[in-house]
C-alpha cells in the first residue's frame, strides 16, 4: 500500500524513489554547503526567469540535480605503508545515490585543508590515488592503486581547496562492485614527522596523528540531468 500512496506517487513524479529519511534529521542546523545555498538563492531570485533550470551555470554543464556527496572514508592508519612519513586518508563516495535514469555530467572532488593555527606544517605534498582493487595486508600497496594527482599545497589562514575532475571515474563507480574509493596521502613538507606526532613509527597504534595535521574535508560535487524533468528543445520564452 505504501508503494501506491499518493505521497509516493507524487514524490516519484519529482524523481524521488520515496520520502527521504536522512539519518541526521534530528540535528538542527546541519551544515549546508554555502555554494549550494548561493545556487538555491540565485534560482529563487529575480533573475530566475532567465536562468535555465536544466543548466548549472556555476560549472557550465547540463544538469538539474547538484549533489554534495559526503565522504564516507576513514583514516586508514597513522602512517602510510608505502610512505613512512605520510598520513593516509581513505575517501569513499557512494554513487549509487544517483538514479539509473540520471545522466552524470560532472563529478568534481573538492578537498579543503583547514590549517590549524600555531600547530603543524605549513606545506603538504598531496597525492591522490584511485584504489583499483583491495590488496592484502603486506602486499605491495602500489599494485592496487593508480596515481591520479600529486601536488604540493601551501596552507594559508583561510581554508585551501584542491579540485579534481573525476567524472569518468565516478561514472564507473555507479556500477555495483566497482567502487573501491580513493586514497589521499599527505606528507608534511616543512616539518620532521617526529616533530609532529607524539609517538614514533615504532608504536603499534598512533594516538592522535591527525591532530597534528590540518583538518581535511572532502566532498564530491555530482551534477546530473534527469531527462524526464528536462525536456530538451524547450523554446525559451521570447
Amino acid at each position: 500500500e505504501e508503494a501506491k500512496s499518493p505521497e509516493r506517487l507524487f514524490l516519484g513524479s519529482l524523481g524521488l524513489s520515496g520520502r527521504p529519511r536522512p539519518a541526521g534529521s534530528q540535528q538542527p542546523g546541519r551544515h549546508v554547503p554555502s555554494a549550494l545555498w548561493r545556487m538555491f538563492r540565485r534560482s529563487e531570485g529575480d533573475h530566475a526567469e532567465e536562468s535555465d533550470p536544466c543548466t548549472v551555470s556555476e560549472y557550465g554543464v547540463r544538469g538539474n540535480i547538484i549533489r554534495y556527496v559526503q565522504d564516507q572514508g576513514r583514516l586508514v592508519s597513522g602512517w602510510s605503508s608505502s610512505c613512512r612519513a605520510c598520513l593516509e586518508k581513505q575517501l569513499y563516495f557512494n554513487m549509487s545515490v544517483l538514479q539509473p535514469v540520471e545522466l552524470l555530467s560532472l563529478a568534481q572532488l573538492e578537498i579543503t585543508f583547514h590549517w590549524k593555527l600555531l600547530q603543524g606544517p605549513r606545506a603538504l605534498s598531496v597525492s591522490l590515488y584511485q584504489v583499483i582493487r583491495a590488496t592484502l595486508r603486506g602486499a605491495d600497496p602500489q599494485a592496487g592503486r593508480r596515481l591520479l594527482l600529486s601536488q604540493s599545497v601551501r596552507l594559508q589562514h583561510e581554508p585551501t581547496s584542491v579540485a579534481v575532475d573525476l567524472t569518468a571515474l565516478a561514472e564507473g563507480w555507479r556500477k555495483p562492485g566497482r567502487n573501491y574509493g580513493l586514497l589521499l596521502e599527505l606528507l608534511p613538507l616543512d616539518a620532521e614527522p617526529e616533530e609532529l606526532l607524539p609517538f614514533h613509527p615504532g608504536n603499534s597504534l598512533p594516538l592522535e596523528p591527525a591532530s597534528a595535521l590540518p583538518l581535511v574535508q572532502a566532498s564530491l560535487v555530482a551534477v546530473s540531468l534527469n531527462p524526464h524533468q528536462c525536456r530538451s528543445g524547450r523554446r525559451r520564452r521570447r
Binding site: P20, L36, S43
Partner: protein, 114 residues
Amino acid sequence: SAVHLPVTPSNVCKARRLYIDFKDVGWQDWIIAPQGYMANYCHGECPFPLSESLNGTNHAILQTLVHSLDPHGTPQPCCVPIHLSPISMLYYDNNDNVVLRHYQDMVVDECGCR
C-alpha cells in the same frame, strides 16, 4: 433568441492560489528550503465570447462559439496553465547528502482557455 447571461466573473478561467506548507505534510525534516510550494491550479469557465484576458487561441475562440450553438455536442475549451515557472528544492537525501534540484514548469503563473 434566449437571453444569454454571461458567467459570473468568479467562475471565469483563472489561476487559483494554493500554497502547501511542507510542515503540514510532514516534510520539514528532509526539505531544507523552500518552506512550501505554490501549488496553484487553473479552474473556471471559458465562456462565449472569449475575452482577451482569457488568453485564448483562435481555435479556442471558435470552440466557444460552437459550444454556445451546440452545448451538448461540443465542450468548452479547457482552462489550462499557459505560463509556468521553475522551482528549486534543497534537501537531504537518505545518505545525508545535501541535494539541490531544479524543476522546470512547476508553478502556475497564468491560465488560459485552449
